[in-house]
Symmetry: D2
Subunit: 361 residues, 4 copies
């Protein structure tokens, strides 16, 4: 079977590079187009990411695939979407708002940008979590007159939270959630990102707009699709988001009030079993478990657990009863913000949308 042609837009930035790392030698998708700003257009990809001083700005631990290095970068605004079967975009929000609809007129667009997340005809899809929202894609196509569509993945801090909450919602119901995040620096990107003078030996207690995103996206992703719209879930979420001196992966301290009482063992079992149907599909980018529950009281740790399952599993530990929240349970989780929470997560969702017939059909 021949592979689907894919474009990566915003390919030179760090988020675009994460797409390239995930797409190297992919069995379903062949990257045929690399697009970026006009500044990079016309150069080979390697030239585009190499500074005048000769420094190659490739930021992934996976080596840059030689094939990508030699491809010529085109300008994002000039990408002819007809030439590909799917577009993966890693754009800033403003650029995404402008460019993604141009592509989506013709082909599916899998996006890491926030531009369309809260649009009422757009589902925010998380692999294995809310497949029931996928049909909203057809509504979007009908309303907008698009042949393609835009499916954004959520904010990187939302991903681990919704993965861990979904089995609790299904098994016990959710009443409310209190969450404090300890986020890694890579979430802030590199322009300029978090500077060392601010974060070494320090915590930054505020990430603008992050808490609002987490609160709104969580309720949307775990909400109900009916009548062509998603009704947000009716539990409440209160988040405090902080930055810590960690390079990659977000740690989250979660306190949950369940609708129905559950023991620690029941909570643990629900998490461990969650998503087995999805992981059983064996998608190329899929982890073997959506949630890895650890019994080690000193885990999860971001540096140790972000490498498990190539960053595609959410590791949960220290599940305990909480006697403040009603039917309360508390735990910590680690989620890889630039794997499951970024390009590779979007890629896994694309793999599932191929299976479901939304991409490449």
């Amino acid at each position: 079977m021949s592979r689907l042609n894919a474009a990566v837009v915003g390919a030179t930035g760090i988020a675009g590079q994460q797409f390239l790392a995930a797409l190297a030698d992919h069995p379903l998708f062949e990257v045929t187009h690399l697009a970026a700003s006009s500044r990079s257009a016309g150069k080979t990809y390697l030239e585009a990411i190499t500074t005048a001083a000769g420094s190659t700005q490739w930021f992934c631990t996976e080596p840059l695939a030689p094939r990508f290095a030699q491809m010529t970068v085109i300008e994002a605004a000039k990408l002819d979407a007809h030439e590909v079967d799917v577009v993966f975009t890693a754009l800033e929000s403003d650029a995404a708002a402008e460019l993604e609809p141009l592509y989506a007129q013709h082909v599916p667009v899998m996006s890491t940008a926030s531009a369309f997340r809260m649009a009422e005809d757009v589902p925010v899809l998380v692999p294995g979590v809310n497949p029931q929202h996928a049909p909203l894609i057809r509504q979007m196509q009908a309303e907008r007159g698009w042949q393609g569509f835009v499916v954004p993945n959520p904010n990187c801090t939302t991903v681990g939270l919704v993965v861990s909450l979904a089995p609790l919602q299904q098994a016990f119901g959710l009443d409310s959630v209190v969450m404090t995040s300890l986020q890694g620096c890579s979430g802030a990107g590199r322009s300029p990102g978090v500077i060392a003078l601010d974060i070494v030996d320090n915590v930054i207690p505020y990430i603008p707009k992050e808490e609002e995103k987490v609160e709104a996206e969580t309720r949307k992703i775990l909400g109900t699709l009916s009548g062509g719209r998603i009704t947000p879930a009716d539990f409440r979420v209160s988040a405090t988001c902080t930055r810590v001196p960690v390079l990659e992966a977000h740690t989250e301290s979660v306190f949950v009030s369940l609708t129905r009482p559950a023991t620690v063992e029941q909570v643990s079992a629900a998490m461990q079993e969650f998503g087995s149907e999805f992981t059983g599909l064996g998608h190329p980018s899929s982890p073997t478990r959506l949630i890895t529950v650890t019994a080690d009281p000193f885990r999860p740790q971001p540096r140790l657990d972000r490498v498990v399952e190539d960053g595609m599993t959410t590791t949960v530990g220290r599940i305990r009863a909480c006697d403040v929240m009603g039917n309360g349970v508390k735990y910590l989780l680690v989620s890889h913000n630039t794997k499951m929470g970024a390009g590779k997560g979007a890629l896994l969702m694309a793999e599932e949308l191929v299976r479901l017939g939304y991409i490449g059909a």
Copy 2:
């Protein structure tokens, strides 16, 4: 007026050094005795903290006072408490359980150890927070037949929490508290403390026994003394305690349910006004404000705010409404674990106990 004679026990360890840094040139107390283990006994203090390789193990940023450097260290078990007016102890819990009663038979003992914190006739006193518990000292003396007493300060993670909660309790009542801590490494000491291989680029999500201490101590400190016993406050506390790559100071993300509703402005005002009577006493180790409320959304930060008021104020920021907790408010705080949370906090309490007639009378 002549100064009171003071002994520092456990003087060579990091916690003891913090006492010495706080006690250098103190107007009320003159350190006349330095005590440590038998290994150090008979040496000058400088010799005792200098390794065979010639490295001086003095860990405070304040320089070691030359006077202390030349004092001869005595063995803790042989300290004759009759020779001093007060003993400051910085011992491990087991040693404290054994030695502090020996001293307390004769003189007041101000302790950073946990050994007696949960004893029912022992108050855990926090400067400016619970002076109404001080009379329990007389009960302790009567029941134990001691001329002196033991007053421990709380766990370093408890201190900032109770300082920030006290004004809320007084003004609005407390229903429940959810707290996630991001603790600095100095709280773990140096034997071996937190090793770099564990904490660099990482978070450790568990500190054994810490959550239990915070939950129990908070309710005791904010409880009610009557009939010679303290009844713990009846609000509930749920804590998750983590370690982050920060050298000093603990950051805490707090979610509170108040008994009576309060606006963000009212909460802020209550905190800012808290303790003005106490700070107005002008104790030598006192900050000018027990709580410093910051309007900068990017504060408090442990590296920046731990130096404010020499680590004796609790900095609170990002006060916001929380719609998960009933009558909810959330905020972050930074508290200096080895200043207000350790020796200098115990010293400030001692200054107040002099004023109240419990020490040196």
Copy 3:
């Protein structure tokens, strides 16, 4: 005696803030003018450094003096130098090249910028190291027709090196120097400076232009003034400059070939005695020792030694014979790059130039 009026130009940036921290309550200089870019002009200083989101961008550990906070910032290009007795500039090199001559036509300019360091009629003055170069100021004034002058301080990496080499040059002669630096992040400033994703758990082995600066400046500062020009010293310097995950202070590993043999004890003594005449002058910003020699084999350490003497002393340790270099000696030093190596070093030099009659006469 009335104080001299001083302007600080580039006052809102991190280097300018270091000037303000050093100049608060200064006995010789009164800051009467604060200048910055047109973007800040017309605002109070506090407004100028506060973001729209309400975050105050003050980066020094010393608190911002209330008096400075309320001063109105003027535009650097519009500063009337006649109104002050001295200008302290903390500008980027390009701006310095343009603005410093305008001020220097009228008054002395003490600069942290590199723009004029290699001009042949400009001395690079280091407090206590090369007072014999000060007379070149008169040459500069004569040749340029200026009433004032520009005196730059050296690159922050050069400062500690020349302070440590000067006594060796004087006592034993210098044949050659091999140096590897481990530099703190603050040397790169904040725009964007060193980002956490690059430096946490890492070393960056290259700082553009730094090695060339160190090599040329060292030879100039330790060179000979005669005939109205400085002949660089004839020893050779080979440097490799790296960045390490340290916030402040530069560590340097130095290997020296002396002209005449010297024992470790002689080298140590020469360093300890160095500059006593200068420090004996008791300038307000002066350390009590230009060089602090430590016998502790585990020192100097940047985090511990940068606070000694408020960052104005150079700490040298591990002095040993080196059998590769001829008459070889090797040692490590720590120098505070944003104190002695920046504004406060320039201020100390200004204090000396007042004494010598170059400023305020």
Copy 4:
């Protein structure tokens, strides 16, 4: 062909774990025995590395092979060396001095300990660097009456240095070497290793005994075997060894005086070509290049380059002329201290000794 039976001694410590990570599914060696202290004996390996609190102390990023997890640990002193074909030891120096001769009476012992490195009948073998020293093994066997032998690998700081110097010695001759190391924390192990309070935001300028080891081992490894003894190479080495806040990999700043002049291009070419004969053998643990020369001026960086070729290549960059050293050249290198510099380096050497007939013949 059946695999050789191998024992790993000191298997529960961090150095032993690195052997296990390297030996999982190895085509030549089958781990049949795991040995450690009496405290671990009788337990399964997983039990032996799991604390009472349920925390698994496995420190490698590679997962623990299930097969090893279930093996029963035996006491090192009771290992019957007859049962295996080779022993890999990861012992502290004192234990190595005692136990390694017991094993070596019967079988080859590949060791990461320093105990026998300076013994005159023992070669310190580095893969691809000094195969000409291997025949000293026969001398050792003859003199000591052993059927086996001990081959230690060098100190982890020595490894990268000798790999980079060997091609220079061969092509141009070596006159002298000046080196400053910036070493990662993993080199200090975990008992207690480097504590966070010492190294975060800091540099430690001294590692006891490290400089002496580097100086002596380098000259031995690059020395000449004749008459049954190794004459150390006659160039001089002067090292300063420091610890920096890096988890893994050592960075070294090297200044070399060559016997014969060479251009930067010639030096670079010599390094790039070095060891191609050895790497061409395709040993299972071999990198494809012993030295990776980078033209990026911002490389090598320990965090980025330690992952290249699974830590088995030495990355060299910033090759420049040095005008202080005679025929001088300077460069930086990164070497992975716990891969090529520890167990996996010893394993690669074992693979070569199998080929040469010293093991398993």
